[in-house]
């Protein structure tokens, strides 16, 4: 169990290093990897159908623009003016294309 936890931490750190570039990367990354204040366009919502449908109704759909507000305990997004809080696990399943700051 501890090994799994360590591995998740390592993956998260790697993913973060990948996409914290301010000028935006050419490839997509997980929403959980984006830095605070960064804007991104949603590319793919890969979670279960129930959750994906709920996310889309809330404004997180393929092509939508979101902004990351807070990443300390999960992920808080600014979606079309309202704040949406997501669990980290879910944020990893949403692929986005970060935009230049």
């Amino acid at each position: 169990m501890i090994r799994r936890w360590l591995q998740t931490k390592r993956e998260a750190a790697a993913a973060k290093a990948d996409c914290a570039l301010p000028q935006g990367c050419q490839h997509e990354c997980a929403l959980s990897a984006c830095a605070v204040g960064g804007q991104a366009i949603v590319v793919r919502v890969s979670c279960s159908h129930h959750d994906a449908c709920r996310l889309r109704a809330l404004g997180v759909y393929e092509g939508a623009r979101v902004r990351v507000v807070d990443t300390r305990h999960g992920l808080i997004l600014d979606v079309r003016g309202s704040r949406l809080a997501l669990g980290t696990a879910l944020a990893r399943l949403i692929s986005v294309l970060p935009l230049a700051a």
Partner: protein
Amino acid sequence: MTSIAPGAPPAGAPRTPAPPAPLRVALVGNPNTGKSTVFNALTGMRQKVGNFPGVTVERLEGNYRDEDGRLVTVLDLPGSYSLSPHAPDEAIALDVLLGRAEGVPPSDVIVVVVDAHNLDRNLFLTSQLLELGLPLVVALNQMDAAAGAGIRIDVPELIHELGVAVIPTVATRGEGIDALRRAIARAPGFPRPARQFALDAAAAANIAPLESALRDTGLAPAVASLEALRLLAHVNPEDPHRYGAAVEHALQRARAELAAHGVNAHALEAERRYHWITGVMQRTVQRPPPGGRSMSDRVDRVLLHRVGGPLIFLALMAVVFQSIFTWAQPLMTRVGAFFDWLGVTVGAYLPAGDLRSLVQDGIIGGVGSVLTFLPQIAILFLCIGILEDSGYMARAAYLMDRYMRRVGLHGRSFIPLLSGYACAVPAIMSTRSIEEPKDRIATIMVVPLMSCSARLPVYTLLIAAFVPGLTLYGLFDLRGVTLLVMYLLGTVTAFLVAWVFRRTLLRGPTRPLIIEMPPYRLPRIRPLAMSVWQRAMLFVRRAGTIILSLSVVLWALATYPHTHSAPGTPAAAAQEAQLSNSALGHVGHAIEPAVRPLGYDWKIGVSIAASFAAREVFVSTMSTIYGVGDADTAGTRALRDRLRDERNPATGARAYTPLVAVGLMVFYVFAMMCMSTMAVTVRESGGGRTGWKWAAVQFGYMLVIAYGAAWLVYHGGRALGYAG
């Protein structure tokens, strides 16, 4: 003198026309839009709570008479973000709106409550509702909050864009409600609303067969288009209203064709609707430019701090419990004194005998002892209400999600768990918002461990009697701390038990957290005061009914059969003999062997058994027992004093020591002593056999933990030398 029958119109006066036909209104909207406030404003106190047939979703209905005398019934549907159901309460909303809910007559008018401050996302649901083809009225609520944020909405333009009446309201102040009522009355006369945007030609062509297949099942054309988009986005495999093989087939084809054109069928609905909404917003709403961080974000920087966040949360909880104990004290003393006075005064009018005993000990003693806790309960509800209204609850759920996930609980479980501190019954009912059945049942299983307000009288009585009022570090009262410890004990155990359940009976992954964080706001006094009042009144009503009747029955059991001791026997011994030989005493002696290992005598045993009906009955039973047979039943001696002075007749030593008291409190932390909770558990965990199975599991495991923990405390304490 001509006799005129009362109420008959004077001869020659025109007959009053019959009132127009009644209307049925369905009230919908996103969560956090003030829908309940609108509902209350429309219907006043004329509300009724019930259930929808076949589903365990609460049905809230009210009515009012509008200015034409028409009777308007309003059905408050559960809040949802879209018509696609993911949880049972959203499913029933869709069924009601489509007119296919069993036992619910179709609605004549739909009123959607929309948050003016957050119009963008709110319009998603509205855009779906427009396509139902039913008369629709939009209540643009929370206009005050919007104005405060500098948001200006061009209402006439919005009316033009949506094609339906839009009524600005500030439900908390009652503004716009009359206009809303008039709009409801006029809505059926307007042209039916319809979809306000169009799909591009290619997509429309791909979807046309699907729409046609849906029309073949009997849906109106507009509704068929709505359902087509909805089903493309998401199909719920457990939906009982699946449309059949033809539609399934058309659905697959449509998806494939769209994909061939590079269109994501799942995202089509969201993308189209929001595209339209963006246009509407541009044309009707003026927002001040977002100036970096909003006030809410700034507050969140602190409250959601990595380490500070959870600490602040714990500190807030500590403050809440501290206040429950300390602030309520003076009020409670006053209520207690009132009942004492009442007992004495009423007693003066009655001749000595059974009747006087019944009134003083059974009725006033029993009910009064429970009502003294009203101030505490009111303060508890007030604190929870403030946390909810200010918007902090959502943050707490978000903070707690990480930790709860580790034990297999959902972040959404947080709110039912927190409500469990007030009462497990509504808390268990609110688990309906948790979609995954295993998540829901796990939450239901542990909610009763959150010390509900009915345990407060038990804790308070025992703490007041046996815990000294020391002050720790000059800040914290030992009594408040003890109370907090009891609450923490229940909470921590709840998490542990949830973990066990999720590894054994309820294995499975936990759904991810998706929760909206409303902007912070100052709690509004009037709605808050009203809700605290309502809850307090429910508590009083419960005391005046269940507890009253049980106290009377228990009094009778303790009084009969009469035992007449020989004259000259000391009062204490006579009282003891009376109690021991009464019906209650016999039951108690029978139970005693079971509770003796915990250090309790038969009186506590009987009180525990009686408290299964309602935990507060423990207090009133003890009150009755100690009142009955007491020669100087002026009722002046507080129950806690009597407990302290109680001596074991055989050994002369104190019958109740702090150790026994703590053990008893621990017992109550864990024991499932509530008939109502059991009943709700049966219903909410599936009803019928499954429901009873889960209720039995719940009762069983809690009793085992309660007994074990109480035993440990008592014997452990004695082993450590705390015998006294």
